[in-house]
Every structure is written in structure tokens, then in C-alpha cells.
Amino acid sequence: MKTNAVNLIEQEWILPGNRTCPGCALSLAYRHTLKALEGQCIVTVPASCATVLHGMYPITAVNVPCVNTPFASTGASATGLVAGLKALGKKGITVLAFAGDGGTHDIGIQSLSGAAERQYDFIYMCYDNEGYMNTGNQRSGSTPLGAVSGTTPVLGKQQYQKDMTAIMEAHGLPYVATCSASYPLDLYEKVKKARTIEGTRFIHVHTPCPPGWLFPFSDTIRMGEMAVETGLVVLYEIEDDIFRLTSASESLARKGGTLQPVREYFISQGRFKTITEEQIDELQNWVNTRWKHCLHRATNL
């Protein structure tokens, strides 16, 4: 039976009143992740907005065991948790690495790549708010073309996003998926599935960030939906090399595959205030090409 809002597990592992900003998509994604793992996990978190969510000693907002680890070390920390549990013969505990895009695409890519190549048995979840939001929004390897940030203040970012999910797929992982915080049930199902698979599993979650992207706090869900409807974010999973579109991306494909124009998404966020018409056209072409590729690749249409 598919999970829906009615039969979703009621127990919460993130306590109310955590320190994330209003409208934060990360806490929504994390909440449903922990629900899918039913709290039977050990989490490792690098320096990130998730550190802020976890709280300040001696008070934490999270009801699962967690270790905070330095920025570059998430993949290695997860490896250490797995190795330690294995050495002690402890079974039935999922190790979850929960890191932002800075900690994944940039400073953490080495330890993540090393751990994935060694096929250590954990779920790595990258929540992607497309910038160094914890330090007040500077560009990351995942900041989109044209976005203004603290370190691309005048011209906006001149490069495309790094496709981290494709990089992780190239590691030959048993399970790779993309999600959006705006589609929590899709995320929930994917984490639940990942929980049953052995090896390194990588899940990418798009998490709109109101203060960083400069849109109203009340519009988080809408921003995430627009990203999917325009094809800027495509929801899919790759299990044993089988590519499937899921959730809203699957519905879009089934309804003829027509995407919304990307322009609407860009004009609703302050960070794209300097984006040029040429850049929008460029991004539209990029989205169209990738969408065509996804439709071609999908095995479930």
C-alpha cells in the first residue's frame, strides 16, 4: 500500500521548536527521512544548517543518536560508524549521513567518493539548498547559473550546477535517487526502499531556502513544486541500473511530458535578479535536453 498523509507514521523524531529558519525545507525533508527509518538509525552530520537544526548543547531537537563531524569528513564518519557497528556485531541499525550541498558537492566530495567506492553500507542524503546557507549564502558547486550570492554578488554565478547525483551514479551504487522536500511522500518511499538495500545509497533532496533564495517564507512548497514542474529538478530513482521517473515527474511524463517554462521559477526568486535573457534561454535549452534524456531513459512510462 502506498503511503499517504493518512497512514504516514505519526511518531516524530524531530521535536517541535528547532532552530531552522521559517519555511525551511530541510527540516521537512529530515522529518520524513527519520520517519522512514523509524528512528532506528545513527546519524552523522557535518557543519551545515542541519547542525543548527540539531540544536545547542545540552538541548537537541532530534531524537535519534547523532554525531557531529567536521565539514570534510561526513563519508568517512559514516564509514567509521558502519565499521564500528560491524566490529561489535551490532545489526539492524541504519547509518545515515545527512549533509548539505557544500558538504557534499565541494568540501566533502573526497570522503564521500572514498566511502562509496568502498561500498560501505549507509545512506547518504544530500539536502541541497544550492549554496552555503549556514554561513549566509555563498556560492557552492550546486548554486545555479545566474544566481546572486555572497560570493557572486554582482554578476551572479557564471557556471552550471554540478550534477552530484550523476557523479554518485558513476560510482556504481545499488541505489541512487532524487527527491524534493515539496514531495515528502515520494521522499519517504525512497528512504524506506533505500533502508532495505545494502551498500552505499545516495539520495539527493532539493530543499528551497527562503532567506537564501529570497522568496517569501510561505512559498517554500510552491518553489519546490515549480522546480519539478519546470524540469529544473527531476524526481527519479536508479535501482540496479534501472531508471524510473517517480511522483510528479512521472505524472508529467505520462501527461505528455510538457514542462512549464523555467522563466516563472526565476522571476519568483530574488537571487535571480541579475539573470539575463540569454542565461534563461540557455537554461531552458539545458532543461529540455535533460528532460528528453530522462524520458528516453525511464523504464516505467
Partner: protein, 405 residues
């Protein structure tokens, strides 16, 4: 009783000794990245694990930073963790060394001492571990391969009592690749000496705890109304643990002697007929200093030798006691704090401040990047130091270098 024990002498190099010690200590997680001259130790440990001789997880990590991150997290779920590195590897680990000590995890690291670039150099000096002096680790230096095997075993015992990680340092090539007779301890004796690791903190879903959270400068109230430490108090406790670890280190040495018949303290003191001149050196250089002292005695100059074993916590009181009769202290350092002097010389001066000992101190920088240190050079330097006593300067500002400039 201990002296009746049957010895089990093998010819081993330093890396083999360290590997055997880790195995005898029944380490449960090993994470290491190969670097010269530590590499044979890494290979030996993976050999033990793959051959099923050691029940442990061997993680062939992609960097030293990750090696220590694996160790810290493995330690937090309750596993006994070990790693080894040298030089640039240790420098690359720097952030995680702070993290391991800050989180109070009893990890043991074998540091095979090697010079640091630029320029590249794979040979021995102690700049690597001395550069990690302030990370909150206990540092033990070995003079020979017997001390390596014994110190690694003791290191786990010390670390797990005081909850502070321990770095066992030994000179690259001079010890790591040089074979000498080593008495290998018996496994049942080691098991008696080193009980299984009982973690003080364990990550477990049935009792969820959150470690290394953001901690404010000031103490903060918990939800139960209990006032908990601020960052400053946690730092105080780490300092207190290192200060108090001296007694544990001495105790671990005494108990080791009871089981294995080899005595260990925080330093090695070779008193020579109330000598008024003392040579101070750390690591294998202390053995060379003993040879130099013998040569000086043949020339009628009486010299004592102080071999430093524990560098952190620095054994101030014991060093002062050993140097109480000294009029001249000649300190040889295989490291340099640029713009100042050798690190052990600074420690000696600091320890002597405010005591009645008003000795002259001469510091020589030797053996950097594998430059051979001959006993004859130590002799000549000591004689030069004696001759310099006629000068007006009691303690020169900067060290002399035994090199060709």
C-alpha cells in the same frame, strides 16, 4: 616474578613491532592511508585482517583526514580504534586530531616521524608530531623497537582510562625500517593487562544522544534544569585530564613491569656519577646521546643523559628532579619552532623557571630531514657548549644548528 617469564625474542623492525602491538591490543577498527615510512605497518595490519589473524575492520581510506574521521566515529559506537601515519599525513589529519581529543576518544595513533615539506623529504625528524603538540593528544616517544611494541599496548590502557587519545611516536627509518631484537608479549598477558574497551559514550538508537553539538561559551541549562558545561569548561576538563594523566601513565608503566618485566616511566634518566652536565634528547636520539656520554666520559667529562619519553603531558616535576644537579644542560632537538628554538628546549626552560636550578642551557638543532646524527657530533657540540660557558651569555636566544651553514 616477572623476570622468570620466558622471553619470546624476534628480530623486528619498528613498523612490525607496532603492527604486532596493535594486533595484541585486539584493535577492532583500523583506518589508515599509506605514507612513507609508515606504509609497511599499514600493509601488515591489512594482512592480519585479510588472513583472519585479527578480528577487526580494516578500512583502506582515501586520506588521513578520513582515517581519523573513521576512528572517531568507530570509537563513538564503542570500538577500539587504531591508525598510523607520518609527516604530511599527520598534518592532513590535523583538524581531526583536535576533534578526537575534543570528543575525548581513546584512539591510538602510531606516528612514524618524518620531515615535512616543502621541499619533499621522506626521511626522519620530529617536526610532524611536534607540530601537533597543541591538539590535546598525549605524546609518547620511543627509543627502540621494544619500546614501540610496549608503548602501543600501554597507550590503549592509558587512553581508555583518561579518555584522551595517545600518539606513539617513533623515528622513521632509524626505527621503522631497522631490525633489532624485540621480546613479543604473550597474548594472554596482554589480555590481562588491557581489558576490552568500555566506551563512556555510545551511539545507540535505544538511548539517543547527540555528540559534539554546538556548545556555547558559557554554561547552559538543560531541559531538566541542570546546568551543563560551556565550551570553556569542556576545554578545562581536557587540560585537567592531560595534567592528571601523568599518574595514569606512570601507573600503566608500573603495571606493565609487573606483567611483562620491563619498567617504564615518563622519561629515561641515565645518571652518571652526579654529573653536572646533562644531555637531553627525545626518541632514538636519546640512544645516540648515551653513546656520546660514554665517549665524553672516556675523555674525562662526566655527563648524564635525560631521554624524554612523554612529551605531552610534559613531565615538569620529574625533569626538574633529574636536572637538579645540572650546571649545563645540552638539549638536542630534531625539530624547530621557527623564530624560536627546539620544542623540547623550550619545555626544559619552562620547567626550570622558578626552581633553584640556574643552569646554562644550550640548544642544538640536529638531524632534520634525515641528516645523520653521529655520536661524535653530539660529543663535539657538548664540548662546544662547555667552552661557551666562559661567555657572558647564560642562555642564548636562539639555537645552534649542526649543519653546513
Amino acid at each position: 616474578m616477572a623476570s622468570q617469564k620466558k622471553s619470546n625474542i624476534h628480530i623486528l623492525d619498528g613498523n612490525q613491532a607496532a603492527a604486532i602491538a596493535a594486533k595484541l591490543s585486539r584493535v577492532q577498527v583500523i583506518a589508515a592511508y599509506p605514507i612513507t615510512p609508515q606504509t609497511p605497518l599499514t600493509e601488515q595490519l591489512s594482512q592480519y585482517v585479510e588472513a583472519g589473524e585479527l578480528q577487526a575492520e580494516y578500512v583502506a581510506v582515501e586520506s588521513e583526514h578520513s582515517a581519523m574521521a573513521v576512528c572517531t566515529s568507530a570509537s563513538l559506537v564503542g570500538a577500539r580504534a587504531f591508525t598510523a601515519t607520518s609527516s604530511h599525513g599527520l598534518a592532513y589529519m590535523h583538524e581531526m586530531l583536535h576533534w578526537a581529543a575534543g570528543a575525548r576518544l581513546p584512539i591510538v595513533l602510531a606516528c612514524v616521524n618524518r620531515a615535512i615539506g616543502a621541499p619533499w623529504n621522506v626521511l626522519n625528524d620530529q617536526q610532524d608530531s611536534i607540530s601537533q603538540r597543541d591538539t590535546g593528544w598525549i605524546q609518547i616517544y620511543c627509543r627502540n623497537n621494544q619500546e614501540i611494541i610496549d608503548s602501543v599496548i600501554q597507550a590503549f590502557r592509558i587512553a581508555e582510562i583518561v579518555h584522551v587519545p595517545v600518539m606513539v611516536c617513533y623515528d622513521g627509518y632509524i626505527l621503522s625500517h631497522t631490525e633489532m631484537p624485540v621480546d613479543i608479549p604473550d597474548q594472554t598477558d596482554v589480555d590481562k593487562y588491557l581489558p576490552p574497551y568500555q566506551a563512556h559514550t555510545i551511539l545507540d538508537p535505544s538511548n539517543p544522544k547527540n555528540y559534539n553539538l554546538v556548545t556555547l561559551a558559557n554554561p547552559r541549562m538543560g531541559v531538566d534544569g541542570k546546568l551543563c558545561h560551556g565550551y570553556m569548561e569542556l576545554r578545562y576538563l581536557l587540560q585537567e585530564a592531560l595534567q592528571n594523566s601523568r599518574e595514569t601513565i606512570l601507573q600503566a608503566g608500573r603495571e606493565f613491569n609487573e606483567v611483562f618485566g620491563r619498567d617504564y616511566s615518563d622519561m629515561f634518566w641515565e645518571d652518571r656519577e652526579d654529573a653536572e652536565i646533562t644531555i637531553v634528547a627525545m626518541g632514538s636520539l636519546a640512544m645516540e646521546a648515551i653513546v656520546a656520554a660514554d665517549m665524553l666520559r672516556e675523555e674525562g667529562i662526566r655527563v648524564g643523559v635525560l631521554g624524554l619519553r612523554v612529551f605531552r603531558p610534559f613531565p615538569k616535576a620529574d625533569v626538574v628532579r633529574a636536572l637538579r644537579k645540572s650546571k649545563l644542560i645540552v638539549v638536542f632537538d630534531k625539530n624547530i619552532s621557527y623564530g624560536s628554538e627546539g620544542a623540547t628546549c623550550s619545555e626544559i626552560k619552562s620547567a626550570l623557571y622558578g626552581t633553584y636550578i640556574n643552569a646554562s642551557i644550550r640548544n642544538f638543532i640536529v638531524g632534520l630531514g634525515g641528516r645523520d646524527v653521529k655520536a661524535r657530533e653530539l660529543v663535539d657540540a657538548t664540548k662546544k657548549a662547555i667552552a661557551s660557558l666562559k661567555e657572558t651569555v647564560i642562555n642564548p636566544d636562539y639555537p645552534e644548528w649542526i649543519c653546513q651553514i
